[in-house]
């Protein structure tokens, strides 16, 4: 299968996220080279690849934590041009979970979750707290609501981070190596939450090295290397019959241990 570069067929709904020939440079270094991706509503896309392949950069361009220099990015049909000012509007609909959790250390778990709904969606405190408690139970951590992030384990913190992103009830979730900073015994609890989310058909783009998880939930596997998309395929084809040499090499290294 070749990397998707064309628009979806006319009778399908427009893609939730679309990158068209996106390139990005950090000074002289080109981090993204002609990257094109398309994610439909409810699609679960997993991006994998070696360090420095541009996978994190690519998803960070979707909510403009990084700005691309060439090509076009569309989120729910809205183009992220250089002049586009209302980036907060996009960010309300795109949730992000970070490798380093990035919880607000001076706030309790509950306050971490209610901050954005109150200040951005203008909810009342009661509404925001009810919403927060709902998502906290969904990630199975409601008993920790009054604790501070420093009092929680890594796995618990990341689940709080997922709940925090979900409280804004986004249409799209981005995961940037969510389990890479976790001790092995805590990875499962976070992946379980992500699997549940995927099974509820949340549109998600996930950068991860967890191939077991990828095989379980992915609709589309994407392999990136040196800033380019090398291979795009559904998981069965991707894992059992990778087409590209670099993909084969990467998978053999990854699945070796």
């Amino acid at each position: 299968m070749h990397p998707q570069t064309t628009l979806q067929s006319a009778d399908a709904a427009p893609p939730m996220v679309e990158l068209r020939k996106v390139s990005k440079w950090y000074g002289p270094f080109q981090a993204l080279k002609d990257v094109s991706l398309s994610v439909r509503k409810g699609e679960r896309m997993i991006i994998c690849g070696p360090s420095g392949s541009g996978k994190s950069t690519a998803i960070r361009c979707v909510n403009r934590l990084e700005q691309h220099q060439e090509g076009q990015i569309f989120v729910e049909g809205i183009e992220l041009t250089p002049e586009f000012k209302d980036i907060e509007r996009i960010r309300r609909e795109v949730g992000m979970v970070f490798q380093q959790f990035n919880l607000f250390p001076h706030l309790t778990v509950l306050q971490n979750l209610t901050l954005a709904p109150q200040r951005v969606r203008k909810m009342s405190r009661k509404q925001a707290e009810d919403l927060a408690m709902r998502y906290l139970s969904r990630v199975r951590i409601s008993e920790q609501a009054q604790k501070y992030p420093s009092q929680l384990s890594g796995g618990q913190q990341q689940r709080v981070a997922i709940a925090r992103a979900l409280c804004m009830e986004p249409q799209i979730m981005l995961f940037d190596e969510p389990t890479s900073a976790l001790d092995p015994e805590m990875i499962k609890e976070v992946l379980d939450v992500m699997v549940e989310l995927a099974e509820a058909h949340m549109t998600m783009i996930c950068v991860t090295h967890e191939m077991g998880f990828a095989r379980t939930v992915a609709d589309t596997m994407v392999f990136m290397d040196h800033g380019r998309i090398v291979e795009v395929a559904p998981p069965e084809a991707f894992f059992s019959n990778p087409q590209n040499e670099r993909t084969k090499l990467f998978l053999s290294q990854l699945l070796a241990h």
């Binding site: 960010r91 949730g95 992000m96 607000f104 901050l115 951005v120 992030p149 981070a161």
Partner: protein, 215 residues
Amino acid sequence: MISLSVWEIVHFLLLAARWTLLLSAIAFLGGGTAALLLLFLRYAQPRGGATLVRYYIELLQGTPLLLQLFLVFFGLPLLGIEVSPLLAAAVALILYAGAFLAEIWRGCVDAVPRGQWEASAALGLNFISQMRYVILPQALRIAVPPTVGFLVQLLKATALSSIVGFNDLTRAGTIVTNATFQPFLVYGLVALIYFAMCYPLTVCSRFLERKLGSY
């Protein structure tokens, strides 16, 4: 030469010390307000505003406070503004404190991890909300030791205002010395009173640090 008891000297010095405290408070509050505005300007306009702020800070940090005092005291009348020693000292010290506090607080805001900016941005918070709810509360705790340290410096720096005729503690000491010819006793008492004003500030710093907690 007149003869004064130690208590009379102390009494006179303490009355003047009130003016030192007043000037310090004005300089800190005025400078602090200016520094906050400069801080927001720096982060909201990284290209234009931040450069202006940088020039201002470099100018104020690179020239002696004494000369800044003279320039304000002799310069304001040229603009047609009536200048009392208090006004001149207040204006000069506000400009001075504003520059130093802006730089101290910038360091504290920079010390807040970048992930905090990213997470709050990703949630859709605008710049003002990011600063107010996420960044400044964390920067505040980091800011307590250097800010209180600077406040102590500021209080001692008010001594320079005696040069432009402001009746602060130092000037009172000079007046009494000229009258009693007991410089060591008088200036020794002046130093003690300055210490008595500064020491509680350092205690306050430790208390605030503990109260704001650590993460």
